[in-house]
């Protein structure tokens, strides 16, 4: 067909017109499909978030019972000059029990008494003890104290135990319910923000369990991970990108870095158990071992991200530095690295976020243990946020249901915060050339 033929070119216009319609339909269908996929993804995300948030809400408030307490110094065997040691050993439980009995004098049977005493949390006596240790002048006085309520009371107040169920189906029996209602009517029951959740370690009692131990444990673990993986990974990336000769050995290393990124994380946990704990006798359940294991896992991520960031630095920048007589090292550290920094930092934070959410390898090195104390250093036994979620999800008490969701929210908060930092750093260090 000759291009000069006018008749043919008329036909061509017609042909193009016909095909245009088809093309536009295809485009519209594709756009709609894309929109639909995004809408679906957002919908699922919303469902997930709303579900977690609504389940977590009860965990952020705590029911309290206000009781008048007579801190009889003689009964406690203490006076203002008593040492801290003595105060730690003093029997504050009886004081609280006395207060409860005074409130409900009709209770006399042993079994009923025991039920009455379980209105306040097991932690109530420690709460009172700590108050007295902090302020010994309280001894001998009568004061009103807001005690943490037991998780059953908490559940009744928050409505997660239905008061209208027949007694046989209800965890809280009629008698206890009547006490709770009496206290409610006299205004002795109040709810407040659950600071305890953020200031204490794990516990077997849902109302006393807090997330602080896991947060600190995660923090220590991530610190070790960052301190190990960032310098090593960046150094490796710089060497491979800028200095390494192009030969088979380097190719082999590159392939294996990519392979390493695909290794299931539990394998790293087994390695940590076998090498660091069994062979090097490092402490079990400690953030230091967790950090080492997680840095093995995040190394390939950071190396790959850093290499592509370094690769993206325009060669003209290197040439400019070399042309001025900078050594290879100077050109890399003065110009290439600062230009690649946003990419490297983004990769690092993504790697860190991955490490923060990682559970499997840490199970293998004992970080799944039940640990009440808040870790004071990287060698103290501790647990981490995702494992805390796992542990609480595993507990039967109703109170832990909310705690589990609350722990997930805390974990998500840290992940979002880290990603926000990544975006901020990228924007801050990004330079145009």
């Amino acid at each position: 067909m000759s291009l000069e033929n006018t008749e043919n070119s008329m036909n061509n216009t017609e042909l193009v017109k016909q095909s245009l319609k088809k093309r536009y339909i295809k485009e519209r269908v594709f756009k709609l499909m894309g929109l639909f996929s995004i809408a679906t993804a957002i919908l699922f995300l919303l469902i997930l978030l709303v579900d977690i948030a609504s389940k977590a809400m009860p965990a952020f408030s705590q029911t309290k019972i206000t009781l008048p307490i007579n801190l009889d110094a003689e009964k406690l065997g203490l006076d203002v000059s008593s040492s801290k040691q003595d105060m730690m050993g003093a029997d504050f439980r009886t004081v609280i029990r006395a207060a409860l009995l005074k409130q409900f004098p009709e209770v006399t049977k042993r079994k009923e008494k025991r039920a009455l005493y379980s209105l306040t949390s097991m932690g109530a006596e420690f709460q009172l003890r700590d108050m007295v240790i902090e302020n010994p002048d309280l001894l001998g006085q009568s004061i009103e104290v807001d005690f943490m309520a037991d998780d059953d009371v908490d559940a009744v107040i928050k409505g997660s135990i239905d008061r209208n169920l027949p007694e046989s189906d209800r965890r809280v029996k009629d008698q206890k319910l009547s006490w709770i209602e009496t206290l409610e009517q006299s205004g002795q029951i109040s709810t407040g923000f659950n600071w305890h959740f953020f200031s204490s370690g794990d516990s077997r009692e849902p109302e006393m369990a807090g997330i602080k131990g896991a947060i600190i444990g995660s923090l220590y673990t991530l610190l070790v991970t960052l301190a190990l993986s960032f310098p090593v990974a960046v150094a490796a990336a710089i060497y491979l990108e800028e200095f390494a000769p192009k030969n088979r050995f380097i190719d082999f290393i590159e392939i294996n870095i990519n392979n390493l990124a695909a290794v299931p994380s539990i394998v790293f946990g087994l390695l940590g158990l076998a090498v660091f704990i069994n062979f090097f006798s490092m402490p079990r359940s400690a953030p230091v071992v967790g950090g080492i294991v997680l840095s093995l896992m995040t190394l390939p991520t950071i190396i790959i991200a850093s290499r592509s960031a370094i690769k993206a630095v325009p060669p003209s920048l290197r040439e400019a530095a070399l042309g001025l007589g900078a050594s290879k090292m100077q050109s890399v550290f003065h110009h290439v690295l600062p230009a690649a920094l946003p990419g490297i930092l983004t990769g690092t934070i993504i790697g860190m976020a991955q490490a923060l959410g990682e559970t499997a390898p840490l199970l293998m090195i004992g970080m799944v243990a039940f640990i009440v104390d808040i870790p004071q250093s990287v060698v103290d036994p501790s647990t981490v946020l995702p494992i805390q979620v796992y542990l609480w999800a595993d507990s039967p008490e109703r109170g832990f249901l909310a705690k589990t969701s609350a722990a997930i929210m805390v974990l998500l908060f840290f992940l979002v915060a880290m990603n926000a930092i990544a975006i901020y750093l990228r924007k801050k260090f990004e330079k145009k050339w």
Partner: protein, 291 residues
């Protein structure tokens, strides 16, 4: 360079409308370099230089002297090896793994490819300006101060300030940027950026400046400024400039070397090359019959 020649270059005489000749139709017979590749008072002496990229030979047996305190222009069609040759002069080709240089390149009679020659020291003596302006993503001041800083050329801040100012003045940029020395260098216009790159090179106080098509990315006004600058700089520096523009070569250089397919075809005084080329290929190139 006289006006008549420039005009002739700008508008090729009629009768040159024949289709461009191809490599085959030229029926080239490679001979030894025509003209005067040697010169007195040479800064660089290159003897039988061959450059290979893996198995491909990019430069064939080039021998050329580069006179001190003058401008030599390297011209030739794309891919003829003039940039490659330029980059052998400060060993920038070292950064390319597969590149191999043979032959002798003497700077002040010292072989720059000798084992004991340090490429970093060499590049401090032989500066380079690139085709695309490539200022560092730093302030104007830091761009110029970078070279003196890494080489330790100044003892204190005020000396460095003076050096930066002097370099910017020599590059004809100081008046335009004196109020914003700490603004980013990448915020300047293309022509200003290129002059900044020249200032940066001058600040190291090299003996030779290599320029790889320094004005090819610039508009005519910026180009004119760069050319003016080159004319001033030759008082203090030896300049080797690669250019695609024959008018530019005619305007700024004292000697011109014509490269073709990796071979040095002809070298001579610029006036002579453009008015009376000795080699058939040179003549065809400068009259625009291929390129």
């Amino acid at each position: 360079m006289n006006e008549a020649v420039l005009n002739e270059l700008a508008e090729p005489p009629t009768g040159v409308n024949a289709p461009p000749e191809t490599e085959d139709s030229l029926n080239i017979e490679y001979t030894d370099t025509v003209g005067q590749p040697m010169c007195e008072n040479a800064k660089f002496r290159t003897k039988n230089v061959n450059v290979f990229y893996a198995d491909n030979q990019a430069i064939h047996d080039v021998s050329l002297d580069i006179g001190a305190h003058q401008v030599i222009a390297l011209i030739g069609p794309s891919g003829c090896g003039k940039s490659t040759y330029l980059r052998t002069l400060n060993r920038m080709n070292d950064t390319i793994d597969i590149c191999r240089v043979e032959g002798q390149i003497l700077l002040d009679e010292q072989d720059i490819y000798a084992k004991k020659q340090d490429p970093v020291l060499l590049r401090a003596r032989v500066g380079m300006v690139f085709q695309k302006p490539n200022p560092f993503p730093k302030s104007i001041y830091d761009n110029v101060a970078y070279g003196p800083k890494i080489h330790g050329l100044t003892r204190n801040k005020s000396e460095l300030d003076d050096l930066v100012e002097e370099a910017l003045i020599k590059a004809g940029l100081f008046q335009e940027v004196k109020d914003r020395l700490h603004a980013p260098g990448t915020g300047l216009s293309g022509g200003q950026q290129q002059r900044l790159c020249i200032a940066r090179t001058i600040a190291v106080q090299p003996e030779v400046i290599l320029m790889d098509e320094p004005a090819s990315a610039l508009d005519p006004i910026a180009t004119a400024k760069i050319e003016e600058l080159i004319n001033e700089l030759k008082e203090n520096f030896t300049i080797v400039i690669v250019t695609h523009s024959m008018q530019q070569a005619a305007r700024v250089s004292q000697r011109t070397a014509y490269f073709h397919m990796g071979r040095l075809i002809e070298v001579g005084e610029t006036d002579q090359i453009f008015t009376n080329p000795a080699h058939e290929l040179t003549e065809k190139y400068i009259t625009g019959r291929f390129g």
